[in-house]
Symmetry: C2
Subunit: 442 residues, 2 copies
Amino acid sequence: MVNEAARSNPHAGQQIVIIGSGFAGLAVAKGLAGAQCQVTVVDKRNFHLFQPLLYQVATGALSPANIATPIRAALKKARNVTVLLGEVVDVDTVSRQVELASGEAVPYDILVLAPGVQTQYFRHPEWEQFAPGLKSIEDALTVRRHILSAFEHAEVAASPAERERDLTFVVVGGGPTGVEMAGAIAEIARYTLRGEFRRSNPAAAKILLVEGGPDILPVYTPKLRERAARDLADMGVTVRTGTMVVSIEPDGVQLAHGGQTEFVPASAVVWAAGIKAAPWTTALAGERGIETDRLGRFTVLPDLTLPGHPEIFVAGDLAHCKGETGEPLPALGSVAVQQGKYLAKVIRARIAGRTPPPAFHYVDRGIMATIGRAAAIADLRFIRLTGFIGWLSWLFVHLMLLVEFRSRVVIFFNWAWCYVTRNRYSRLITGGEHFTPSRGDS
Amino acid sequence: MVNEAARSNPHAGQQIVIIGSGFAGLAVAKGLAGAQCQVTVVDKRNFHLFQPLLYQVATGALSPANIATPIRAALKKARNVTVLLGEVVDVDTVSRQVELASGEAVPYDILVLAPGVQTQYFRHPEWEQFAPGLKSIEDALTVRRHILSAFEHAEVAASPAERERDLTFVVVGGGPTGVEMAGAIAEIARYTLRGEFRRSNPAAAKILLVEGGPDILPVYTPKLRERAARDLADMGVTVRTGTMVVSIEPDGVQLAHGGQTEFVPASAVVWAAGIKAAPWTTALAGERGIETDRLGRFTVLPDLTLPGHPEIFVAGDLAHCKGETGEPLPALGSVAVQQGKYLAKVIRARIAGRTPPPAFHYVDRGIMATIGRAAAIADLRFIRLTGFIGWLSWLFVHLMLLVEFRSRVVIFFNWAWCYVTRNRYSRLITGGEHFTPSRGDS
């Protein structure tokens, strides 16, 4: 079923289809509100997700609704924008239609591909059931269940060895996500749960942060990296660089370092170690001869179009876009937002017949990562901040990046209360009504 | 494995075991904080759930964490209270031990059975997959997913008949839960989603409230019932009394009224029509010769003990306890809370060797139910309120019943904002990353 009526109506203007409503997709849609075109946003979820704060849902500090905005609510006032909940299975670049799983075909004059990427397990998909990633709300709730259940298991453990295993947590991946997760788990163990258990001691938890490369937070400066490592150590996180994961079992992980392997009994394992393009985009690239990098991201020209397809733009994590240094821009929310706003300008110019803006230029305002409750490292280019001041700036920037004003108020209130009480208020083990002793129950 | 150390220590005091941390169980545990006894609370969930507001989670107005408190946080300061996350499989009333699924046996001198009840489908368990109940967070999130997905399906419906089916909602059960659900769905359809869809019109939704008996809200006075029915009709809810459900299919329900049957194509169906005791309690009753009513609730003496077992108390929904009129007390949160507080006094008196308080006497302060955004009916015995004033009193009472002060502040803020904006902020379709067109995907 094709919505031909729209295409054949000369007064309807151009048909713009945007796949994905993350940072990039939503920015394009908002930027095209009121323009002389019909915009259709397609997403398989009904909400825009603020991924940088997923680790806070995973550690019971925030609820999913605090970081997710219904797409329709965000785009309600844009009368020329239609939102469709649906799963894209293919893009026919010849007839210019987006094919959905329901059978509907959405025609486009201009297509914006911004579906994001997913977690990758480096040819070990079987690890996913034991070590969830952190790219979706369901991921975060699964991680939350594993972490909170681990402390509960420790309380009823039948032996000291079992208790120690229950209280050992492994976070794989030394980038910002892994660092933030490890710091948050340490905070739960040493502060949040203090006094709540009678037979076990949550503060005895061992938290391992495993990174295959020589450094955690490789994109930060050496000084900031050292500061982060110190803060983590103060919080009780053991950092293991130059260490690879060999295998993940139900009761622990096998690690390899310097030629030696070691089995670490552990209960909750979190995977924050890699991304790759979703299978449907990789299949699409194969079919249509689109050049991709080793992660499956689509190589784009400086104006974010696909080579040979000036009507198709790619933005966000899926875009392999060269930055000023010649290196591809990182998969960051700030890059995606800027690309989305740029594309809105480009598309508006194109449909109005004006000269389009020059090539996309990312304005690097810096990067930041928290380490626990009141510390962060922030490289804002013109200044570098650490400790409490770094944390305040991190709070401010993230609050401002949130889409909804109400979310900002709610999250600010939440953080203020949590800061004062050192507590977390979304510490629910959900997802099943039966408490089972094994970790395999996702 | 038996925790005998506790029982054999004469200085440890009596071992009180409480099964369940709902209104009744939590009230007993809090009432025994600091008393000369060791208390163990066993629950298969790690949080206390404020069930009266589950329908607000089911309609995207609140998040689960707003109405659920981690048990450990609530009982943290009570040093003589231990919380165990576990599933009870049996109670050995001879050796006086509670047996958990993990194999652990928890010995007791005094046992408080307060596990609550579950949804019942009147010998049609196969209906549950199509028509979830509203007794747990998972229920509420499933209902939420069905309701929000229905509106999304309508937006991409292939035909008017399909769209009409997508926009038809059926709520089974005319008690307070059913009335509140129906009113909330009507509010979503007519207010919350206004302007958010382009191809379909949410306000065209048809909401049926089906009740087998002659009246909805049978425990209210006739005048209040009429007022509720009028408010519901104003909101667009069609009430069908004297109507039974014959069957529930993936694409609708078969209803019977006055000897005639009718198939109603519908997408989301919510079951709020009956409760019964959980299977393990029914099995226990059978094994130990405990008298139960037709719902499986345990018959108790005026002091809430089981006949022949002065060391076992039953409280909350599972207790079939005769009120002043000779009728059993209803399964209400207010009854459970009062029973819990009473039991704490009884147990304290018993372990101190004092005369116990007389029989349990329920102080009936009234009942209340909301109908939509700014209307409610409240029978507070000394006064009856309806409309906006009724709604304000409903808000106040429920805020005060919440366990945590923080929850009260958060929910009050939430309700105030939602009232002003007529919006709902937890409208997420979660529970799966793939949007499928059929309703069977729980």
